[in-house]
């Protein structure tokens, strides 16, 4: 039962955030300060998701050669600065990770 509350609740939360301005409100009516803050949400939230995946994949910060993910991440960033195609970025990151994992073996 608890699982279903979580499942439906997650649906409500994600829909309400998506529908907030598209369905319910006019962003021009909101205070200037809030709109300025909103503009930084993607950079902040996305970084908070990405950085641990690169730097501390197993929980502790690991910037050594034993953790190939931050190196693969640098390769992916290098590609992302040049092309916008997400396919190229993902392929570059995975290929680098697999290559480094292969070398380590």
């Amino acid at each position: 039962m608890t699982e279903w509350i979580v499942i439906v609740g997650t649906g409500v939360v994600t829909f309400l955030t998506r529908a907030s301005f598209i369905v319910f409100a006019d962003p021009r009516r909101f205070p200037h300060g809030m709109r300025v803050a909103l503009a930084f949400v993607p950079a902040a939230v996305l970084a908070a998701i990405v950085v641990p995946g690169l730097v501390s994949p197993s929980g502790a910060i690991d910037l050594g050669l034993g953790n190939p993910r931050w190196i693969a991440g640098l390769a992916a960033i290098a590609i992302a600065l040049r092309v916008r195609n997400p396919l190229a970025i993902i392929v570059a990151g995975m290929a680098t990770l697999w290559a480094l994992q292969g070398l380590a073996r």
């Binding site: 997650t10 803050a37 993607p42 950079a43 939230v45 997400p86 993902i90 990151g93």
Partner: protein, 260 residues
Amino acid sequence: MVANAPGPPPRSDTLARSAPLADRPPVSPHSAASARREFLAGSRAVAPVLVGTVPFGFVAGVAAVGAGLTPVQGIALSVFAFSGIAQLVVAQLVAAGSPVVVTLAAALVVSLRFLMYSAALSPYLASLPVRWRAPLAYLMTDQGFAMGVQRYADGEGGGMRHWHVLGVGVTLWITWQASVAAGALAGAQVPAAWSLDFVVTLSFLALLVPAIRSRADLAAATVAGAVVLLAAGLPYRLALVVASLAGIAAGVLVEWRHRR
């Protein structure tokens, strides 16, 4: 292929200024042919993204079942949420036996970026009836948002561009749900050595890099990235909440100082 890649999110000052005027509703009668053309154009435009969607969805399906949800619950979560990171965060917190309120609060934080997307996209969709706006809102994703803004900016598609947004959304939705179902049903049979979960990080990295367009954006990302590591000891993925808020504050501060 590069021409079809999603464009960057709008500049950070887009929202601060008054929003652009809404697209005028089509003057000519709706043409079924041009609607279909826009829908298919959206379907095709999103194709390069799907290569990341499939493994990401698979990972999300595996995670749901690994957290103790049944495959049906994992698929239901995906249909209700249609958000990879929300599904992953919820799976982690369910696995840890977290209280419902905490789980939903974490889902809210990772969904905050939808507020910004919704605000940026709403002027373009304002002339549509709710029976269009509600489904398009439900179908909105990071990629779908980026491609929608680009479609409205490039001027092609005239008054039928919401069909393009729908084509992107429906194509992503079908691909995502099929991938999640495959992960939930076939689950743990993929060797961990494949490191498929890294696709999740890379998918968000592909969104993060073009989202950084100013010094203030960079400050927001840097502070959020540093704080999420420093706060890693906090329970219930609170680090994500604290880091996101710190990053937003940093961005606002840099923007204000820059203005003066």
